[in-house]
Amino acid sequence: MSNQIEITHSFAGVDFPQLERSLRHPRTLVSSLLSLLTGFVTVVACVPLFSVLFMLIYRGGKRLSLSLFTQTPPSAFESGGGFGNAIVGTLTMVGIAALISVPFGVLAAVFLAEFGPKSKTASAVRFCAKLLTGFPSILAGVFAYAAVVLMTGSYSAPAGGVALSILMLPIVMLTAEESIKMVPHKMKEAAIGMGATQTQVVWRVTLPSAMPGMLTGVMLAVARASGETAPLLFTALNSNYWIMQDGNLALMEPTASLAVLIFNFSGVPFESQIELAWAAALVLVLIVLAVNIGGQVLSRKRVTR
């Protein structure tokens, strides 16, 4: 190694080795330059986030008002309007997706973590869940289109929900498995030692203890699903109307969502719609951040307990 050679050299040249830090020393100089570079890169990487947040507040904040939440989108030459229907649509579809993916994911996670952690089934399931983690969201949309839209014959909120649930499922399942595994073995042992059946152990000890972690996973999945656009493009499509019309729930009709509204209004030449897109983006980011932060708080609770 080069440093050994250097040390002997300095012994030969001077009476005592040089111990002071000096930038003239090439090794120190390179080291400092690299440190500066990575530090600079890290700071630069933060710029987009602040730029996005600034733009959201600057352009979206201008347009923020209560009517946004109570009105439907304007047509091309109108001004005003809002996207209340899109918020309701997003919530409905994320809700449907959660109703599908949470029980599904948690039940499978219980099997993965408790009943058959080392079985062949479990490794196959984990493998599939990991594949779904990297599954492009647009393909979830293509699948839901083929499986739901073509079958029911219409674009609808449930079709969007199914597409979103495919994206939520692996997040819910894998985080639930992790948090179930985190429950100390000695607690489960205590319940088993008292003659609890495996199911009683799971329901009375494991799941309550793993709850904060599982909720964090669900929140992460909900946050991800709320922001997804691609799976909704041709499953829920879009709509300018409320999902509740004249007291009837138009569930099997095309449904609006914040994300698709942003996409549709982003490329139009009409200022009022562009403004609305920015305001919708602000609201969407606020929703996503709120859910994310909620999840973080829950996970912190688990650590401090």
């Binding site: 986030l49 009943f115 594949l131 329901w203 994300a259 983006a281 969407l284």
Partner: protein
């Protein structure tokens, strides 16, 4: 049938064997978890089956020529996705170069004690927040911030260095460079988080050994820590690449949806995912089947890349847990 253990237990004991209900509940619940586990496997198979099945007629009709064809004309029934495959790979590779450099640098900066722990956490959270922003918002930001900001520089570069193939066109609006830049921001959190894990899992004693030999901080990082975590970081890059291949919205909004194969960073292009996003909602019966074929190709590419990434990650874990194989 079953032997009971009752008999002469003390009278005040409340201990009783599990009731029939408990046992039935236990069996049902365990069965249920098993069924749902299998449903995950069936779901994946069903997804492949649905998409492949719907694509089948188009595969029969267009065959392999679909992959190499360069025109997309629904009216004449001529379809080819070579430009989209090219655009998908080109944009993802560009994004990977940018995002990979940033992601790994950040991972190093945030794991090797450059900053006090509190600041490390702050930066870590900021980078994680990048992942929380929905892609459609990045698309919007790209249209109204990135493209206008890039245009003067890009056009200056085109004027002065236009003889280089990468700069042979001017940036008139949407194009490869802004799309790839936004894409790199979107994959950066993945790469940085997975690389961080890889760097953190390098045993502390290795670093101490390097310092003990008189290495500077960067000699230790470049000579010991990076080589040790190389497999994990490589896995992070592959996973980031997989994410870039499948990302839709930012590209659909920024890449320009133009069917051409060009090396130029400033020319518009198209990707498979963007093609699906833009054409699916208005597709007729014929085009729908063809789009399913395109979806199948996208699925094949991303599955392959993700499989490779997962395999590498598993290997990295095995390496660090001792069994060098």
């Amino acid at each position: 049938m079953a032997i009971t253990l009752e008999g002469d237990v003390p009278i005040d004991s409340v201990a009783s064997p599990p009731s029939r209900l408990d046992i039935a509940g236990d069996r049902t619940f365990r069965g249920l978890t098993y069924v749902f586990s299998w449903m995950t496997i069936f779901l994946v198979l069903y997804i492949v089956y649905e998409i492949a099945g719907k694509a089948f007629p188009a595969i029969q009709e267009y065959g392999f020529g679909f992959v190499t064809g360069t025109t997309w004309d629904a009216n004449r029934g001529e379809f080819g996705v070579f430009p989209e495959i090219w655009g998908t790979l080109y944009s993802s590779i560009l994004a990977l170069m940018l995002g990979g450099f940033f992601g790994v640098s950040i991972a190093i900066f945030l794991t090797q004690d450059f900053l006090p722990p509190k600041l490390e956490v702050v930066f870590k959270n900021i980078v994680e927040l990048l992942a929380a922003i929905p892609s459609v918002v990045y698309g919007l930001w790209g249209i109204y911030v990135v493209i206008p900001a890039l245009r003067p520089t890009a056009n200056w570069v085109h004027e002065h260095l236009g003889w280089i193939p990468f700069f042979e066109t001017s940036l008139s609006g949407p194009g490869m460079l802004p799309a790839a830049m936004v894409l790199s921001i979107m994959i950066l959190p993945t790469i940085s988080a997975v690389s961080r894990d890889a760097l953190c899992s390098v045993p502390h004693r290795l670093k101490e050994a390097a310092f003990g030999l008189g290495a500077t901080r960067w000699e230790a990082i470049l000579g010991v820590i990076l080589p040790t975590s190389a497999t994990g970081i490589f896995g992070a890059l592959v996973l980031g690449f997989g994410r870039a291949l499948g990302e839709t919205m930012a590209l659909a909004m920024l890449v320009g949806n133009s069917n051409q194969v060009s090396l130029s960073l400033f020319s518009p292009a198209n990707t498979l995912a963007a093609l699906l996003a833009n054409n699916f909602p208005e597709a007729g019966k014929l085009e729908e089947g063809v789009l399913m074929y395109a979806a199948l190709i996208l699925m094949a590419i991303t599955l392959l890349v993700n499989l490779v990434g997962t395999a590498i990650m598993n290997r990295a874990q095995r390496r660090l847990s001792g069994g060098e194989r």
